[in-house]
């Protein structure tokens, strides 16, 4: 964190030189090379995630997928959304939202695990009857 901070501070200095507004400086233009670098990193990660989906990795797959997605989301938030340069309060705000989301998901999942064995799928028994397709659904996969 400290590392990235110092490097980004450099980036600032750069951008700051490019133009010169004296009063109440709060505009910090992001350098173009950084935007492009982040964009290409995101593209590479997208290819990676599509690529890895071709292999059956079992339980690991969902973990890997979410890991890549989180890295991507982190890049977007940190650089495109300037969170690294922003007030810490804004970072706290967005992180706290994720905490509350995980709380919500966590409790619901915890409960779902508990009643899993009591479920009656299709309680009235009419789903199968009513939605029986005229022909079998065909799927191709690779």
């Amino acid at each position: 964190m400290a590392n990235s901070h110092s490097s980004t501070a450099d980036a600032h200095g750069h951008a700051g030189d490019a133009h010169g507004h004296g009063d109440g400086e709060f505009a910090h233009p992001a350098p173009i090379w950084m935007l492009l670098a982040v964009f290409f990193a995101l593209l590479v990660l997208t290819f990676l995630t599509v690529f890895q989906a071709r292999f059956d990795l079992g339980d690991l797959e969902i973990v890997l997928t979410l890991f890549i997605a989180t890295v991507k989301a982190g890049l977007v938030i940190a650089f495109f959304m300037h969170l690294l340069w922003d007030k810490p309060l804004n970072a706290i705000v967005i992180l706290s939202s994720l905490i509350f989301v995980s709380l919500f998901l966590g409790f619901c999942l915890m409960d779902a695990k508990g009643y899993r064995n009591n479920l009656i799928m299709d309680p009235n028994g009419d789903l199968l009857e009513k939605s029986k397709p005229a022909s079998q659904l065909v799927k191709t996969s690779n």
């Binding site: 509350f100 919500f104 915890m110």
Partner: protein, 557 residues
């Protein structure tokens, strides 16, 4: 009785000079309808929610009168079952969504927050106005529901009943969705205002406790309300195209709906009670003319309640078929919320110690709050204890408990706060003796209504019953008499306030001796709140505030 020493009845010398204030700043319908002034928006909200409260109150009385008899024979009952179900649903929905949630934050909060903070306006005045209009649109949706076939699901919209009923659930869900956004915008506005617009000198710990409470409330509004939004949206989709997420006939799960719903609606309970606690903190200290006991503890406990409030939604579902482990965890977390609430009560009582306690209308309401809220809070212990809750869940015990908190707590505090800030908002003093009378009638009526319901619940009377076994009749009748009394009390309060608008004496700048910033600007406040930037000091330093017989109010020495 207290009138002898009460500052209000002291002779008021009125200056004849016409003052400039926000009410006469500009005139015409559009000057109100398009206003960006937080005070006018607050007043429009006040008018709106009081109307909603009146509607909800009429429904409440209808419920109580219907239950005068056991209604074993439907032909002799006041309403049919179907009508009764619609009445109690609308009572709940209107009271919760249209009245209590916006009551303190949107009406009083809008008016007071920038003034107490010492700023000219909230951070986003246009957003503020749009939030009011969203409320109006939400109200229109509910009126539409009312005008068509009504809604009979209970305010909780539990699936699958809400999916299959023929009443107009869909417009009601859209109404709730829109009201949710109204609530989010208000909360967002307040958080940003408090965070970024405090004037120099207004540090966090110089903020009045009312602002702390509103701040905590706003956090909940912003974090919890979106989940309600998506829940009712999914419910509307469920009814419109049958997406099946909550519908067991399509392998959906009704208990999931309950999780979604209560993830918002339990924190919403704190949206309702926290600002009321903030009002009481102000009322207790101002009318005791004494600094609040344990300022920081009260401030922190507001935030603690807001955060813990997110962890306890499961206690609405103890019997709903949740897994054991979830149930027990939620029960444990539920008890954690009781501690900060208890701390607040102790601190309020501690504030009166060695003070100078004025007995006037706001204080009577504040003391009545203390009594009622303590009962409301303590009876929560019964419901948090799992084994006892198995017996009490969904009975009248629960009804009594949440009315003690929501009505004995929030409503009484709201009315108290309304009396407290009425002179500031309208520039008129009300008749204090009549105000005290209204407070006493409300107190008696309230207890008469809801104390019997605790017994009813313990004896096993389920809630939402249009008819009941004869055994419960006496207690029900007691409760109905209480409700009528309560109605009379609130009517008296309304008359007192209306009377003051036309015949009230001109209010002094600081009628009660408060030390927060709103008492430093004239009553009613000027358009821009402060002609010169206010000097911010300790909001509870009463040592330099003395009664001044000439103006009929208090002045700073």
């Amino acid at each position: 009785m207290s009138a002898v020493t009460s500052p209000i009845t002291a002779p008021v010398t009125t200056e004849e000079k016409v003052e400039h204030h926000y009410l006469n700043h500009s005139s015409g319908f559009l000057s109100w309808a398009l206003t960006l002034d937080h005070k006018r928006i607050g007043m429009m909200y006040l008018a709106g929610i009081l109307f909603a409260f009146f509607l909800g109150g009429v429904f409440a009385l209808a419920i109580r009168f219907h239950l005068w008899n056991p209604n074993k024979d439907p032909d002799l009952a006041l309403f049919t079952n179907q009508t009764y179900n619609r009445i109690f649903t609308l009572h709940g929905a209107i009271m919760v969504f249209l009245f209590i949630i916006p009551s303190v934050p949107a009406a009083l909060g809008n008016f007071l927050l920038p003034i107490m903070l010492g700023t000219k306006d909230v951070a986003f005045p246009r957003l503020n106005l749009s939030s009011f209009y969203l409320w109006v649109i939400g109200f229109i949706f509910f009126s539409f529901t009312l005008a068509t076939s009504g809604i009979d699901t209970g305010w909780t919209f539990y699936t699958p009943y809400s999916i299959e009923t023929t009443s107009s659930v869909t417009p009601a869900t859209f109404g709730v969705f829109i009201l949710g956004f109204s609530s989010i915008f208000t909360g967002l506005n307040f958080i940003v205002t408090i965070n970024t617009m405090r004037p120099p000198g207004m540090t966090w710990f110089r903020m009045p406790l009312f602002l702390w409470a509103v701040y905590a409330t706003s956090i909940i509004q912003v974090l919890a309300t979106p989940v309600l939004g998506i829940t009712v949206l999914l419910l509307a989709m469920e009814r419109l195209i049958g997406i099946g997420i909550f519908d067991p006939a399509l392998n959906g799960d009704p208990v999931t709906f309950q999780h979604f719903f209560w993830f918002y609606s339990h924190p919403a309970v704190y949206i309702m009670i926290l600002p009321a606690m903030g009002i009481i903190s102000e009322l207790m200290s101002v009318h005791s003319h004494k600094g609040i006991f344990g300022y920081r503890m009260i401030a922190y406990s507001s935030i603690a309640i807001a955060l813990f409030g997110f962890l306890v939604w499961g206690h609405h579902m103890f019997t709903a078929g949740m897994s054991d482990i979830t149930t027990i965890v939620f029960s444990a977390l539920t008890f954690t919320v009781s501690i900060p609430s208890a701390i607040k009560v102790f601190n309020w009582v501690g504030t009166m110690y060695q003070g100078t306690v004025a007995i006037n209308t706001p204080m009577v309401y504040a003391l009545s709050f203390l009594f009622l809220f303590t009962i409301g809070g303590l009876t929560g212990l019964f419901l948090g204890a799992l084994s006892v809750d198995m017996h009490l869940h969904d009975t009248y015990f629960v009804v009594a408990h949440f009315h003690y908190v929501m009505m004995g707590g929030t409503l009484v505090a709201f009315v108290g706060g309304l009396f407290h800030w009425w002179p500031k908002m309208t520039g008129k003093m009300f008749n204090d003796a009549a105000g005290i009378l209204s407070g006493v009638i409300v107190f008696i009526g309230f207890n008469l209504t809801f104390l019997p319901q605790f017994v009813l619940g313990t004896r096993g009377m389920p809630r939402r019953y249009a008819s009941y076994v004869e055994e419960f009749q006496e207690l029900h009748r007691l409760s109905t008499i209480g409700a009528a009394t309560l109605g009379v009390g609130l009517l008296v309060a309304g008359i007192v306030l209306l009377h003051s608008l036309f015949y009230g004496k001109k209010a002094p700048k600081n009628p009660w001796g408060g030390a927060t910033l709103e008492w430093e600007c004239s009553s009613p406040p000027p358009h821009d709140n402060f002609s010169s930037p206010p000097s911010v000091g300790d909001p509870y330093d009463f040592s330099k505030i003395e009664y001044d017989g000439k103006s009929g109010g208090y002045v700073k020495k």
